[in-house]
């Protein structure tokens, strides 16, 4: 790449179109030396989170993780090595950077108290403590070890879970363990819809 980079400095106008009045060409050789914005990035392979074509993408991040530096995404484009997309992407995939970097991303836990008309910020610690409590209370109240006919069912039907279609297999597997640990049967995802 180095030789190509240096060559950029010499890209110049040919000026053939400039037959000027005085018969010579003043369309001088003009260097265009715009910095390639992905010249100094870290590249990570990922998969587009939208539809199920499964396009591979290259995420370009900048920032070396020094103590004050958090890597940030500067560009995302298709991964040419993928036989599926061969570097191509659709309009959604091509704007994935906007998704990752969106200023409307949630960055802290929010809590809405019963009857409240606003969100309030809450710490993770507080949120986890309260959520664990809610889950346990509901489980204690609703867990059925046996059904009406006295058959062992070990199930929890007053708590339901949904989601997982943009979570990885591994997270879905963990959600499955979570679900069966709790005894939850009502568990649905986007495949149903």
């Amino acid at each position: 790449m180095a030789s190509e980079l240096s060559r950029r400095g010499f890209l110049a106008g040919s000026g053939t179109a400039a037959a000027t009045t005085f018969g010579f060409n003043l369309e001088a050789a003009t260097a265009v030396a715009k910095e390639l914005k992905i010249a100094r990035t870290t590249q990570t392979h990922s998969i587009c989170p939208y539809c199920a074509v499964g396009c591979s993408v290259v995420i370009h991040t900048i920032g070396d993780k020094a103590q004050n530096v958090k890597p940030a995404v500067v560009h995302i484009e298709g991964d040419p090595e993928s036989p599926i997309n061969r570097g191509t992407l659709c309009s959604k995939g091509a704007s994935l950077k906007e998704f990752v970097n969106s200023d409307t991303r949630l960055t802290r836990p929010l809590y809405r108290a019963p009857g409240a008309s606003e969100w309030q910020a809450i710490s993770w610690e507080d949120a986890f403590t309260r959520m664990a409590r809610r889950i346990k209370d509901s489980r204690d109240a609703g867990f059925e070890e046996k059904d009406g006919q006295g058959r062992v069912v070990n199930r929890l039907t007053n708590t339901a879970m949904i989601g997982g279609c943009t979570d990885t297999n591994e997270v879905n597997y963990l959600l499955g363990k979570f679900r069966f640990g709790m005894g939850i049967i009502g568990y649905e995802n986007q495949a149903r819809l």
Partner: protein, 805 residues
């Protein structure tokens, strides 16, 4: 997916994106890949460019896919079975089917019990009082060994082939035209192209998506497509198959990992009547219906035992049935699917809901009902990238009162909501499974923003903390909770690498990773989190992260790129790509060849060293062959045209049975249905290429491409109503309404159905009451009407009215 599992044995896209380039005919119906899967569509364009493939597009709208197709046929939403039934009729009448394939690889030759029939809208066995079928006449006639009887000549009047011929004799081109609203000429032109794939050396693919699954007879509809493909000999062939284009990055994987009625790997959820593991295995391990059936599900005990070892580890012993009793059990006939879930929620039977990245207010049918149901919850946990309509459901009054006048003020809604900032794809590692069943590993590129956390940490924290509470305080039924293995190196945030290795499975005696599900045992010496993924992370390492570029067959299978379930097989049922003697139907396009007593090429969907004629070619089915006749489906073994539950016309085949008699319709107070008197037009919903679901209304790029919601209206109807492009209009159903500017177009045509012009009106999904760009939620319009097999709501084809406002 229920349909494909019933027909072929597995509920997944049969072939794959890259393989579509091998097609000679592409039938796009019930989907719009040019807009919704543009990158997948590149293989359609490659087939068109390189193989001169013909594209047939059947759709209510002239879509971008239609724009590049060779043959476009407009049909009324929800008449697809009539169209496909017509293709079956056309193919059988003209003899345009692949006879050898049909004889060798399908159940066309199987005999059905006496008494099976179809009369005036119902199959035999209909019980009007119970509103259900007695399926005894739908079964194969069995011999003394319990094997199905055959007539290889296909002449027997009770053979599946003859029954099929009879059933579809009513689906003449004229009838199809009358029902669908196209002309008979348009239909036959399409049929002729589709049937060119009947030649042994031609293959055709079917691409579909939610335009098929979102009907009250969706599973039957997809079964009809599968039948067409079997007639054409297209299953197992490169460039063939029935290819579901799934709409979310890991919808396949999430389903593979289980939904309410399945465990990982499509093992069925235990029912209350299956008290022990033995009972469960007895009920769920099928018996071969033919002597030569490989009947792979016969290995269910190995899959289930290994899963239980994965779940309960050392706590799962032979003595305690490997912990089977801790798995929750549903009642025999109970259904906990989406529609039932929200019905029970509305009835106040659910306290808490945990949502990982799902948005029922936006994507569930009848938004008013979704809002009402959620407000009955005591608590809700939502892990998300953005604030969603669901997490803000309690604020709907303020944010969108005009659409939800009946919804309560926040002060009246007692639901406690936790909205947790989760990480997005770029911030997580792990695997997505695409529509082609390819498991592709990705790495995390950066950390989540601000205080956002990775999902595994949220789950790990919650699980560990609930457990701690039980340890400290005790509580009800601690055993299932405590015995679940959560022994990860960092239990508060399990490493996904560790999880992926567990999902692949290992031999507990050697401690080595398994090479595949062939090594699974039912004695508790193997552990495997999902048997179909076994082989994904072997001793050789993470196969899902492979990037090999070689393609030895030249068919775009790329065996060393990522890893595909099952067993890295790229084309399902590939054994059917050759005849019973192992001779490929098309020598130029053989994914599999039998050489030196082994099958080479793609991973064979067959025993790797078995002779060509040793087994049937569909190893996941007890029949050993693919099914035209599928008694597993609840409304009939053959697909029959039923009108959508809300339809503007009478069923032209049997007016006494208009809609699917088995369709699940809910009747909560807000679940109203309309009639064509008040709502004379047909409404459909769809995605636009510019947006993804309800997410990209938060991103700048997509918001620029399509900022505004709109209502797409045929120019004929617009003229009648003097609506001009851009005029504000209201679209309403018995459930609710949406307002937006009109987009008047020629691409929507008025259709002649039963002597009257039926207009269809369309609305794109994508908008909502939170986000960078806002608009109405189109599920204000849709009804709580579901397919009885899959539990998917009928989002296509409902009755609407249109007014200028």
């Amino acid at each position: 997916m229920a349909s494909l599992a019933a027909t072929f044995g597995r509920g997944a896209m049969t072939n794959g994106w890259t393989d579509v380039a091998n097609a000679d005919v592409v039938l796009v119906m019930g989907g719009n890949p040019a807009e919704n899967h543009p990158v997948g569509f590149r293989f359609v364009m490659e087939a068109k460019r390189k193989r001169k493939a013909k594209i047939v597009c059947v759709d209510p709208r002239f879509t971008r896919t239609a724009a590049v197709s060779d043959c476009y046929v407009p049909i009324r939403s929800g008449t697809d079975i009539a169209f496909l039934g017509g293709i079956i009729h056309y193919s059988l009448r003209k003899g345009l089917y692949q006879a050898n394939y049909v004889r060798q690889h399908t159940n066309a030759s199987f005999l059905i019990n006496e008494g099976f029939g179809f009369d005036n809208g119902h199959f035999s066995g209909w019980d009007e009082a119970k509103n259900s079928y007695d399926k005894s006449t739908w079964q194969y006639e069995l011999d003394a060994n319990g094997h199905a009887k055959l007539d290889p000549t296909l002449e027997h009047p009770r053979s599946v082939f003859q029954l099929m011929k009879k059933h579809y004799s009513r689906y003449t081109p004229e009838k199809v035209a009358e029902i669908c609203g196209c002309t008979a000429e348009e239909f036959t032109k399409a049929a002729a192209i589709i049937c060119t794939a009947a030649a042994e050396d031609k293959s055709g693919t079917v691409l579909y998506a939610l335009g098929w699954t979102q009907h009250s007879f969706a599973v039957q509809l997809i079964h009809a497509a599968a039948m067409v493909q079997l007639l054409m000999g297209n299953i197992g062939m490169p460039g063939g198959g029935v290819n579901a284009q799934r709409g979310h990055a890991n919808i396949q994987g999430a389903t593979d990992m289980g939904t309410w009625n399945t465990l990982p790997g499509y093992l069925k959820i235990p029912r209350a009547n299956m008290a022990s593991l033995d009972d469960y295995l007895k009920a769920n391990t099928p018996k071969a219906l033919r002597p030569n059936s490989l009947n792979y599900w016969g290995n269910t005990p190995k899959f289930m035992t290994s899963l239980l070892k994965g779940y309960y580890g050392d706590n799962a012993t032979k003595e305690n049935g490997f912990g089977y009793q801790w798995i929750p059990k549903a009642g025999e006939t109970e259904n906990y699917g989406w529609g039932y879930m929200f019905e029970r929620m509305l009835d106040g039977k659910i306290d808490g809901l945990i949502s990982f990245g799902m948005n029922p207010v936006a994507n569930g049918p009848n938004t008013t009902k979704m809002l009402a149901a959620l407000s009955k919850l005591k608590w809700m946990i939502v892990a998300e990238n953005f604030e969603t309509e669901t997490s803000a459901f309690w604020n709907a009054k303020k944010l969108a009162e005009k659409y939800y006048p009946a919804t309560g003020e926040p002060s009246t809604i007692a639901t406690e909501v936790f909205l947790l900032p989760a990480s997005c794809f770029a911030e997580k590692d792990g695997t997505f499974v695409n529509s082609s069943r390819w498991l592709q590993w990705k790495d995390a590129a950066l950390d989540p923003p601000g205080d956002a956390k990775r999902d595994q940490e949220i789950i790990g924290q919650l699980y560990t903390r609930v457990r701690k509470l039980y340890e400290k305080e005790g509580g009800k039924a601690a055993e299932p909770l405590m015995n679940m293995q959560w022994n990860y190196a960092t239990p508060l945030s399990p490493s996904l690498i560790e999880v992926a290795r567990e999902v692949n499975g290992r031999d507990l005696t050697t401690g080595k990773q398994l090479n595949g599900f062939g090594e699974l045992k039912d004695d508790g010496t193997t552990l495997c989190g999902n048997w179909i993924y076994s082989g994904s992370w072997t001793e050789a390492g993470n196969n899902m992260a492979r990037r090999g570029q070689d393609d030895p067959t030249g068919l775009g299978l790329y065996p060393n790129y990522s890893w595909s379930w099952p067993a890295n097989r790229r084309i399902l049922y590939n054994r059917a790509s050759s005849d019973v003697d192992g001779k490929p139907w098309d020598e130029t396009r053989a994914p599999l060849r039998y050489r030196n007593a082994r099958w080479v090429g793609d991973t064979p969907d067959y025993k790797a060293d078995a002779k060509p004629d040793a087994y049937g070619s569909f190893i996941m089915l007890p029949e050993g062959v693919a099914k035209f006749f599928a008694a597993d489906l609840v409304e009939g073994p053959f697909p029959e045209h039923y009108e959508p539950v809300e339809s503007p016309v009478e069923n032209a085949l049997h007016s006494s049975v208009n809609a699917n008699p088995m369709a699940k319709i809910f009747h909560a107070p807000m679940d109203k249905l309309g009639t064509s008197k008040d709502f004379p037009y047909v409404g459909i919903t769809y995605r636009l290429t510019e947006h993804f679901h309800y997410w990209t209304k938060n991103t700048k790029g997509s918001s620029e491409l399509q900022t505004n919601f709109f209502v797409e209206i045929p120019d004929g109807l617009a003229k009648e109503k003097s609506i001009k492009n851009g005029d504000p209009v209201r679209l309403s159903t018995a459930r609710g309404h949406v307002d937006g500017p009109a987009l008047v177009t020629k691409r929507f045509r008025g259709l002649q159905v039963g002597g009257k012009t039926v207009y269809q009106v369309g609305v794109p999904i994508h908008w909502g009451f939170v986000g960078r760009v806002k608009g109405p939620l189109i599920n204000n319009l849709t009804a709580s009407v579901y397919d009885p097999n899959s539990g998917t709501p009928e989002y296509k084809g409902f009755l609407v009215n249109l007014e200028k406002i």
